[in-house]
């Protein structure tokens, strides 16, 4: 991943994770795998995990401990109402930003 890509992802990764959870609940590793399949190839599991913890603390996701076949129980995260609201705001902000950036790009031609 290029440095620029890393920097730009940093501000949006939280929204990306919430968007992924909007589809269906998941545990950390599952989300990482899902995102990798969708082309975010270099996302570290630890980074996703750290952001999930943050969202849990801010009350954007609900957490349920589910026993796993191997290893300790997995923390399954699901989007709650507050998380959904936050995600909507994220998409609004995203549309605003892309619109402005497109305008800048066209203006620069």
């Amino acid at each position: 991943m290029t440095k620029l890509e890393t920097e730009m992802l940093k501000g949006t990764l939280e929204g990306i994770i919430l968007a992924s959870l909007a589809g269906r609940p998941a545990y950390g590793y599952e989300i990482t795998v899902r995102l990798r399949e969708q082309g975010f190839s270099d996302i570290a599991e630890g980074t996703v995990y750290a952001l999930l913890l943050r969202m849990e603390k801010r009350g954007l996701v609900d957490v349920q401990k589910v026993p796993s076949e191997k290893g300790p129980p997995r923390k399954v995260h699901s989007l709650n109402d507050e998380g959904r609201e936050y995600l909507e705001e994220f998409w609004r902000t995203w549309s605003f930003l892309t619109e402005r950036l497109e305008q800048l790009r066209e203006g620069g031609r």
């Binding site: 570290a44 630890g46 980074t47 750290a50 997995r74 923390k75």
Partner: protein, 132 residues
């Protein structure tokens, strides 16, 4: 690290002794390279300014959670910590240290000082606050 003080600075860094020992016991059970990685991260985490004992104990417990699960899934170290381990640990520690390398009181002081300076400037020129 086994003979830590009951109170004082160290307990603030690592949390209650009992929880610290339980965490250490979990780390000991991890497969070799995962254990080495956790211990390296642990060393780095010691540089962060602790907020309170409870949240610092949780920090190490959550770290153990991550690596236990990753070891069970067979996730390689590099896939857990990413290309830039510092970045990962910074993001991780931010959840417990109120996001900084500086003590909370230093952040409060900066915020207060700027507010005071702003107010003083407002009095001098009689301008309205124009905070965005």
């Amino acid at each position: 690290m086994s003979d830590v003080e009951k109170s004082g600075f160290l307990s603030k860094v690592i949390g209650p002794k009992k929880r610290w020992r339980a965490y250490k016991a979990r780390v000991k059970e991890l497969p070799g390279n995962h254990r080495t990685a956790v211990e390296a991260i642990e060393r780095y985490l010691m540089h962060f300014v602790p907020t309170d004992e409870d949240s610092n104990a949780s920090m190490f417990e959550d770290l153990a959670d991550l690596f236990e699960q990753a070891a069970a899934d067979g996730t390689p170290i590099r896939e857990i910590v990413g290309e830039d381990p510092v970045e990962f640990v910074n993001a991780f520690a931010e959840n417990y240290s109120e996001g900084g390398y500086v003590p909370a009181r230093a952040r409060k002081q900066l915020t207060d000082d700027i507010e005071r300076a702003e107010r003083a400037a407002g009095n001098e020129t009689g301008t309205e606050d124009k905070t965005v």
